[in-house]
């Protein structure tokens, strides 16, 4: 009954508005909860499509050099979860902020700034300054150029086809890079692996640091670099012979000059392995994750995220375990919410619904979406 009433009371009155924009205008959107999908089209205009109801309004305003998009509830309080699809010209700089927002961009060509608390960020494109931040959510960036800064906390980071200065950091997650073209790289995680893929450029500076995880780095045959390797409880291995002092290497801290030593390469893992390989050699650390992701996808399709998922994968890092546990908990949360709603449906006099069955890890995104379609 309540659900019926809710649906009956909300009339979906979607917004579909196109606003012409002058070159240099920046898109500035804040979405408390919901998806933000941004794609590129060939017009100097911004099209905003939102699934709002008559209970909230979407304000699209030109404020100085920015096109600002905000939603608000007509009854006060935060708006319900809204999904935006926005078409922008390729030159447009974009800033997205949200709390429970998944953000996806495809083909964008200007500065990009995304900051969300709970939500995945997937960006393809961006140039100039690209800054992506999420507390709980995976961050994927592809085909960006310029200065790139990525900050995750409890999830992993995947960067591919990036050119320019690069800084990426997570606390509890791995950092995987593919086809990087950069002379200035700074990567740091406390608990996770770092797997790099890209050339070592002349006079470049590469600093890869983890406390608890593997560092894997490709080094071409004729690289000119000063290589510094440091570990405490970890180990070092290389798929090719490396000149240097064996005693130092046994001490787990050594510096080796390759070629003319032009670039500086610092690899540090307190408790993990530092592994050198040749470009093109297998990357077992990423294969393992990809295999794990594929199996997770299969399990999701089957609707089964049980403990069997962990069999044979003792190397899953904590971040992956947390993500898995959260996904595992989602059906229980949904069931608990359904139970609570059912209680209201019968409206027991004088009795509030009992707290739901506890579930291991509530998935954050579920919280702000009680009134979604």
């Amino acid at each position: 009954m309540v659900t019926t009433l809710l649906l009956a009371l909300m009339v979906i009155t979607p917004t579909d508005q196109t606003v012409p924009v002058a070159k240099g205008t920046k898109l500035d959107i804040n979405n408390f909860a919901g998806d933000v999908n941004i794609k590129v089209w060939g017009r100097d205009a911004v099209r905003v499509e939102v699934n709002n109801s008559d209970r909230e309004t979407v304000d699209i305003k030109q404020v100085e050099q920015s096109l600002r998009i905000r939603s608000r509830s007509l009854r006060g309080g935060p708006p319900r979860s809204l999904d935006y699809t926005i078409s922008v010209p390729s030159w447009m700089a974009i800033a997205v902020a949200g709390t429970y927002a998944d953000v996806t961009m495809d083909g964008v060509g200007g500065d990009v700034s995304v900051e969300t608390t709970h939500g995945d960020i997937k960006v393809r494109g961006g140039s100039g300054f690209v800054s992506l931040k999420s507390v709980q959510g995976e961050i994927t960036l592809e085909r960006a150029k310029g200065r790139v800064e990525v900050r995750a906390i409890n999830e992993s980071i995947h960067l591919a086809d990036i050119s320019g200065d690069l800084s990426a950091e997570s606390t509890n997650g791995s950092i995987v890079l593919d086809r990087i073209d950069s002379a200035n790289v700074d990567l740091y995680t406390v608990n996770g692996n770092i797997s790099y893929d890209g050339a070592i450029k002349e006079k470049g500076l590469y600093r890869l640091t983890t406390h608890n995880g593997l560092i894997a780095m490709p080094i071409a045959d004729k690289t000119n670099a000063t290589l510094t390797v440091r570990t405490y409880n970890g180990s070092f291995r290389s798929t090719f012979p490396l000149a240097g002092d064996d005693a130092q290497r046994r001490n787990k801290r050594f510096t080796v000059t390759l070629g003319n030593g032009s670039a500086h390469l610092e690899l540090e893992s307190f408790g993990g392995t530092i592994a050198l390989r040749r470009p093109g050699d297998p990357r077992p650390e990423t294969e393992r994750k990809r295999r794990s992701d594929r199996e997770k996808d299969k399990e999701k399709e089957k609707g089964n995220l049980g403990p069997a998922m962990l069999d044979g994968r003792a190397h899953l890092d904590i971040g992956e375990e947390v993500a898995r546990a959260m996904a595992e908990a989602q059906p229980e949360i949904d069931a608990a919410i359904a139970d609570a709603m059912a209680e209201f449906e019968v409206v027991l006099p004088g009795v509030m619904p009992m707290p739901p069955r506890p579930s291991p890890l509530p998935r954050p995104k579920a919280a702000p979406r009680p009134f979604s379609r």
Binding site: L6, R253, E268, A340, F344, P349, M352, P356, P362
Partner: protein, 261 residues
Amino acid sequence: MHQEWTDRLSDYLDGELPEDERRAVDQHLRGCASCAAVLNDLKRVVARAASIDARPPQADLWRGIAARLNESGEPAPVVPFAPRETRRLAFTLPQLAAAAALLIAVSGAAAWQLEARLGIPGSLRGGRPHDAGGNSGQARQDGGAEPAIRLDSPVSLGVGADGNGAADFARLGNVSMADAQYDAAVADLEGALKAGRGRLDASTVAIVEHNLQIIDQAINQAREALVGDPANGYLSGHLVEARRRKLDLLRRATALASETD
């Protein structure tokens, strides 16, 4: 039950129906027992929903977090949740009721989760236990553990009058990694975070707590290694880096708390 009438009951109860429709509903209710019963049900939901805002949470999540981070054996004091701003009723009554059910569901799950996670094994959880809280300002070459978040710790720089601490953490941009300054900065940020924790949802609190614990474990492992190898430049640098990350995370969490209002 008559769908065409029950669909209007919520607006009827809100006083949002036009006059002619309100009269029509009045008339129908006088002759329809089932719709009158639905209206009574809705009124009961209203009464229940109205009491939910003032209802204290069944578990003070932060207390558990503090106890775990502290690990000193001293029970963390019960810290009441900050009073919430009174907001105008923003949703229709059935929406409010549904939201209340959802909140109960999620907060119940979160409370259980925090306890359950105490037993989650992980490579970083195998380290030695934390020592009793850190001595702010005292060099810890003795391998003393990273000071855990103590919600009862004094806030030496003070939290802003608005309680969000934004001004305070903004001042902490360039903190030396020397122990005294570092500990003071950490204490300030923890104080600011404590002041703003009521504005963060339970899952965010859990994530921040979990990641602070990971960093603290790393710091403690590095410090312990330094005790055995005090001249090791790598370990010193590594320790500094880890401590800087803790400050960064605290800053970010505090900023989140101040923004979420």
